[in-house]
């Protein structure tokens, strides 16, 4: 049973397109996140949701819009894709809003914009 699952695993698309990445967790966690890992493997948080409420929104272009239909799902929609959006996007979840709780990551979605 996969705890945090993302789809698709790979996504290749052209500049200017709109795409979505879906994430689901079956851990019963309250908090979900999106992280971006660039080509140098640097990991940076983008968004965090707690019980469907947005609690962290880093300086991310507004072309990126997260949506949480329920606390088990957090999707990421990206409009007008740019070459610089190419990266691996990780969804994660954790229990509660504590700063010291373990984050469980999905396997990542490798987005390539051509």
């Amino acid at each position: 049973d996969t705890a945090v699952s993302q789809t698709p695993k790979y996504l290749v698309t052209q500049m200017g397109n709109d795409k979505s990445i879906k994430c689901e967790q079956n851990l019963g966690h309250d908090t979900m996140y999106w992280y971006k890992q660039d080509s140098k493997k640097f990991l940076k948080i983008m968004f965090s949701y707690n019980n469907k409420e947005l609690i962290i929104n880093e300086t991310v272009p507004n072309r990126f819009s997260p949506k949480s239909p329920d606390k088990a799902h957090l999707n990421l929609h990206i409009n007008s894709l740019e070459l610089g959006d190419s990266a691996v996007y990780f969804c994660a979840s954790s229990q509660g809003r504590g700063w010291d709780t373990e984050a469980f990551f999905g396997q990542g979605t490798r987005l390539t914009v051509v």
Binding site: K40, K41, I45, R97, D100, F105
Partner: protein, 113 residues
């Protein structure tokens, strides 16, 4: 602004040797320091974590050493094995950050058999 600086960028260790990865932080408000391990094609997974009220934490072959005055912490992998070959990330967080982890740049560890 990189709040957590990690070194080295890559590390090659012989099987059975000790792998040491270092991190330094700037924000003295940080009070939770986890290490994450990432294998190729996988997401990061929590390996071990420490709070600044202790100077060392050990779990099996993995030890975190923490120096609050120097604002540094390190991961030691004893008896390194080829299966430990992965990318290791240090991270930090604090209560005012909520559940936002600030990651170091990562260290690619290769253990030669």
């Amino acid at each position: 602004q990189q709040q957590v600086k990690q070194s080295p960028q890559s590390l090659i260790v012989q099987k059975g040797g000790i792998s040491i990865i270092n991190c330094a932080y700037e924000n003295t408000a940080f009070d939770y320091f986890p290490w994450y391990q990432q294998f190729p094609g996988k997401g990061p997974a929590l390996l071990i974590a420490i709070r600044p009220d202790v100077s060392e934490k050990k779990e099996g072959r993995f030890t975190i050493s923490f120096n609050k005055s120097a604002k540094q912490f390190s991961l030691h992998i004893m008896d390194s094995q080829p299966g430990d070959s992965a990318t290791y990330f240090c991270a930090a967080s604090w209560v005012e950050y909520g559940n936002k982890l600030v990651f170091g740049a990562g260290t690619i560890l290769r253990v030669k058999s």
